[in-house]
Each structure stands twice: as structure tokens, then as C-alpha cells.
Amino acid sequence: MTFKVRTSVLDNSDGSAELTTSDVKLIVSITGPIEPKPRQELPNVASLEIVVRPAVGLSTTREKVLEDKLRGMLQAVIVRHLYPRQLIQIIVQIQATPLSKHQGGAYSNHRDEVEYSNVELNAAINGCYFALVDAGIALYSSFASTCISITKPHEINDNQEYIIQPTLDQLNNSSSHHIICFSIEDKKATKLLLIDSLGEFTEEELFTVISKGVEQTELLHENYQRKYISDKIHNDYIWKS
């Protein structure tokens, strides 16, 4: 699994992160806390402005849904009451999607390709984490998200496989796919923040996916998030003796 992060990539924003996974690449920029427009202002908490921009073209209803899901999740992890009457602007610019990579980078509006926007949601959540930490926005806990797909029952032995971070082909042959996001405290996945499952699955499969999600998000936190954050702090305070 590729999982590369670069933080503070943008000079003019308060925090930013570039996340590259095996099939999605995106940049998240955070500006805030800043003064909001009067209509955005909330008296007791910070308001969030979330903008998702697609890899190609203008944003559509698809990006609106991504924004809505991100907002629902982020408002639970950002300590919003610390910044009353202020605005935190989060902009996610997607640079490459599984579909654009699949087509050799060339964009063609293929009617036959099924889009899996949840794969982008997964990357956007993980990207937001690094950008929020980079911007120094107060968070209740760490959070990490993972994508798991379940293959179709095998013709002979009815076996189903759980694939972590599936590719486009694997998604295409799956019977369902799931995004699981957990909050992480003391290296342990504690609270369920978001589940987004599409396809056809049973209750049993769902709970297996959730337990695998616990494992995966903890692994992600242990192997990548902690490492990148400690590297970042080390680099930020490089002049401090």
C-alpha cells in the first residue's frame, strides 16, 4: 500500500497536506481560524466551510455529497467551541482518482465506467487529518479512515474475501464496498465516526468489516500518522536546540 504524505506544501495557507495513496492523490488546504462572512458566523462555535474540487472539470453534485459527508464527520472531531464566531476553511483539491489513473491519465467521460466516489472520500478524510494537524486546529482525537471491499461469493465454495484498499478492478468485481472511519485515542480506535457502505451485504459481513476497520485504522495510525507527525514536529523545531 502506498501512503505518502507531505505537509506544509502550500505557503499561503495555515496548514496543508498532500496525500498520495495507490490510486488517489489530493491536496488539502486549511485556512483558519479566520473572520467569517456575517452569514457564516455562529455565535458559540466555529463554522466550517468545506470545498471539494474534482480532479477534472467543475464541481458537481458528486462533490457536494463528498463535502456533506466530510462536514458531518469533521464537525465531530474539531473542537469547534474553541473558535467561536470564526471560520475554518477546508479545501480538498483532488488531483488523481482511480478512474483517471485507469484511463492512463487522459480524461474521457466514459459512460460505462462506474464511479466510486467513496474512495475519494476515504483519501479526503485521511488528508484532512494531516492538514488539520499542520494547521494546529484543536482536535478531540486523531482519526483515520479505511476502505474495504467484499468480493462476490465464490461459485464453488461460497468464500468471500475482504480486500483492504481495493483497486478499481477489485471494486468492479466486488459485491459491496465500505468506508470506515474511527477516532483514535491512545493508539486505539475508540469511536465510530463514519460508515458509508454501498452494494449488497449482510449484517454479519458489516460487523466483520467494522472489526477489520478497527485493525486497519489502528495500523494506519501506528505506521503512518504517528511517524509523519513526529517527523513534522522534528522538522518544525529544527532550530530549537
Binding site: R62, V65, D68, Q75, N172, S183, E203, F207
Partner: protein
């Protein structure tokens, strides 16, 4: 000197407007919801698909449904478009035909398609769609796409007809007859242009126009059941090609500035409105029932009989089918589940927007159980 501060009190309806969260908590503490339903009670839904005459009175509407729940009314009308299949899509159809007799399990997800929903929440003003409408439409599109409901093969137009114009010499009237390769195989072989019509293949595209009147609750569930019902009601027409329609195109001459008219004979696609030839759309799976839940932390007063001590216990309560301003603005931890009759889950969306009223796995389990029970009863 002390001044006495008078306690300000508001009637319940005013309180609900200014502090919806307090009003909601007070309702919940006495075991009631502001809409007077029980915690896990759903609002009844009435579906009137076959009783309406939208489809019979409008030529361009091929399926329709009316869903009512309380004061909210949802009217869905289905119209169709026709697109030419590209080369790559024809190959998917060919694969499809080979394993047609097998079950859907062998098909990959890109052999399924979705509908194009347009949600219109009537609020007495016009303009660009609101965020809520856009999010609803996209969610419905993605849900139907991934639930593998409509296969591309079901929307493919298999027998494209051909219209032939015959001029009756006696009455000097044009007589148009439509021939279909499957209904009139003998005639069709002899037709001169039959080979050219067979070369191209076409598919239907489904547009669902959903109008929502007097919205008071989260309406994804209602829109979903309305669309599924309209799809069950949907009858696809036959399509034919006319070869004789000639149009005049104005072409600018190369040498002078004058414009001349050049006649172009172009075949055009038409929809046969003979409703005896309509055929129902084959759905690959059943739609299922959509339910939504919210979770909110409440404080329960445990009053012990003899003692004066009041024990406060915090519990996260699960509420079904959120409705009204207080519930919609206060409850941020939500679940939306679609379960079909075989207890298979088609969609699950859980967002814990409020970290204090967290949806734990137990609550999720309870919500799934209720959703399953509901899909069985319906």
C-alpha cells in the same frame, strides 16, 4: 438592595422555536417526541402508484408514483431518453448475453446503470437547486447504481423498428406503417434499409423527476421509495427509425453570399406510443425499504420510591424517522439504512456528527434490527 429577577417562561411552542434542543430534551425526558411518536415509531407512508393517471394522461411519462407521509407529498414521474451505444458498451452487452441465464452474481458492477434523479423541493421560490436537493439526487443516483438494480442489458433497445411510408394513390394520403424485426420477421427481411438500422444499437436512459411538497422531515427515504415504486410501474416503449424524414439545411455558398437550402434525408429515432407494445422494465433485484435513525443523549431521571435522591442517568436514545425542526437541527448522529426483503443491506450511511451522542455498535445493531423488521412487514 436586591432586586427580584422575574423568571421568564415561554409557552412550549415558543420554546421550541428559540431553543429547539431544550424543547427536544424536555420531550424526551417524559418519553415522548415533539411529533408525539414513540422513539422507534415510523411515520406511516401511503403509496399510490397504480391509482394515479399521470402515466395514462401524459404521453411522455412512462412511469409514476405518488407517495404521501403526513403532510408531505412526493410525486415522481419517469421520462426516457435514448442514447446510442458506444463500441465499448456493446462489448459489455455481448458479455452480458452470454451469461444471461446465470444469476446477477456473475456480472461486474459496470454492467449496471442508474437513474438520473432531479429532486425539486417546493418552497415557493425558483432558482438554482439547493445543496440539499443536489445531495439528495446524488445519493439516490449512487444508491441505485451500487445496489445493482438496473442492468444495462435491461435498458438496451433490442428490436428497433422501422417506419415505412406508403402513399395511397387513391386517397393521396400518406400511410405510415411500423415494422419490428421480432413481430414482423418476414416483412423485415425484405425492407431495403433494414441492414443499416441494425448496425447501431441504442439504450434508454431513465430520468426521474421528483417533486416534494411540504417537506417537514428528512426525505431521502420517501424519495427512495417513490423512485423504486415508479421504477416498478415503469413501462418501456418501443423505438423505431424513420428513414424518410427529410430536413432542409441552409448552406452558405462558397462563391457568393447567398444561402441555399440543401435537402438532407436523415433517419430519426422515434418512440412508438402504441401502449399495447409497452413492456415492463426488468429490475435485477428488489429495491428494499429505506429507514433513517438519529441518536441523541438524554438524561433520564431515576426516581426511587422512598428516597428523595434523584439519580441522573445518561442514555443515548435511538429515534426512528426524524421529523420536524427540533429533531433535524439538534440530532447530528444519524444512520440511514436500506434493507431488502431478504435481509440484505443495500446501503448504510452512518455519521457521528455529535461526539457526545455517539452511535455505538449496540445502537447500530438495534437500528439494523428495526430496519430488518420494517422491511419484513412491508
Amino acid at each position: 438592595m436586591t432586586t427580584e429577577l422575574k423568571q421568564v417562561s415561554f409557552p412550549p411552542e415558543v420554546l421550541a422555536r428559540i431553543v429547539p434542543e431544550v424543547s427536544l430534551q424536555r420531550h424526551l425526558s417524559i418519553g415522548l417526541r415533539p411529533n408525539l411518536r414513540n422513539f422507534l415509531e415510523f411515520k406511516p407512508i401511503e403509496i399510490a402508484s397504480h391509482a394515479n393517471n399521470i402515466t395514462t394522461t401524459n404521453d411522455n411519462v412512462f412511469g409514476s408514483s405518488i407517495v404521501k407521509s403526513g403532510n408531505s407529498t412526493i410525486v415522481t414521474t419517469v421520462t426516457l431518453g435514448v442514447v446510442e451505444n458506444t463500441n465499448s458498451s456493446t462489448s459489455t452487452f455481448n458479455n452480458n448475453n452470454n451469461n444471461n441465464n446465470n444469476n446477477n452474481n456473475n456480472l461486474t458492477n459496470d454492467q449496471f446503470t442508474s437513474i438520473y434523479p432531479v429532486i425539486d423541493i417546493q418552497r415557493g421560490r425558483s432558482g438554482a437547486p439547493s445543496d440539499e436537493e443536489m445531495i439528495l439526487s446524488q445519493n439516490l443516483y449512487e444508491t441505485i447504481l451500487h445496489s445493482r438494480l438496473i442492468s444495462k442489458a435491461a435498458l438496451k433497445i433490442n428490436h428497433c423498428g422501422l417506419a415505412i411510408k406508403e402513399t395511397d394513390i387513391n386517397s393521396d394520403k400518406d400511410n405510415i406503417q411500423i415494422f419490428y424485426p421480432d413481430i414482423h420477421p418476414q416483412v423485415f427481411v425484405n425492407l431495403p434499409s433494414s441492414s443499416s438500422t441494425l448496425k447501431k444499437s441504442y439504450s434508454f436512459v431513465i430520468f426521474c423527476h421528483v417533486k416534494v411538497f411540504s417537506k417537514i422531515s428528512t426525505i431521502f427515504d420517501l424519495c427512495y421509495s417513490s423512485i423504486i415504486d415508479a421504477l416498478h410501474d415503469l413501462k418501456l416503449p418501443r423505438v423505431y427509425i424513420t428513414d424518410f424524414s427529410s430536413t432542409k439545411i441552409s448552406v452558405k455558398s462558397r462563391n457568393s453570399n447567398t444561402r441555399g437550402l440543401v435537402g438532407v434525408s436523415k433517419s430519426s429515432l422515434n418512440i412508438d406510443l402504441n401502449n399495447e407494445l409497452y413492456y415492463p422494465l426488468e429490475l435485477s433485484s428488489e429495491g428494499g425499504i429505506s429507514c433513517n435513525f438519529g441518536a441523541i443523549k438524554t438524561v433520564k431521571n431515576k426516581q426511587e420510591d422512598e428516597d428523595i435522591t434523584m439519580e441522573n442517568e445518561e442514555v443515548v436514545e435511538l429515534l426512528a424517522d426524524l421529523e420536524g425542526e427540533a429533531e433535524e437541527s439538534t440530532i447530528l448522529s444519524r444512520i440511514s439504512i436500506i434493507v431488502d426483503g431478504n435481509e440484505k443491506i443495500k446501503r448504510l450511511s452512518l455519521i457521528n456528527g455529535d461526539i457526545n451522542s455517539e452511535i455505538s455498535l449496540d445502537i447500530l445493531q438495534r437500528a439494523i434490527d428495526v430496519a430488518k423488521l420494517r422491511s419484513r412487514n412491508d
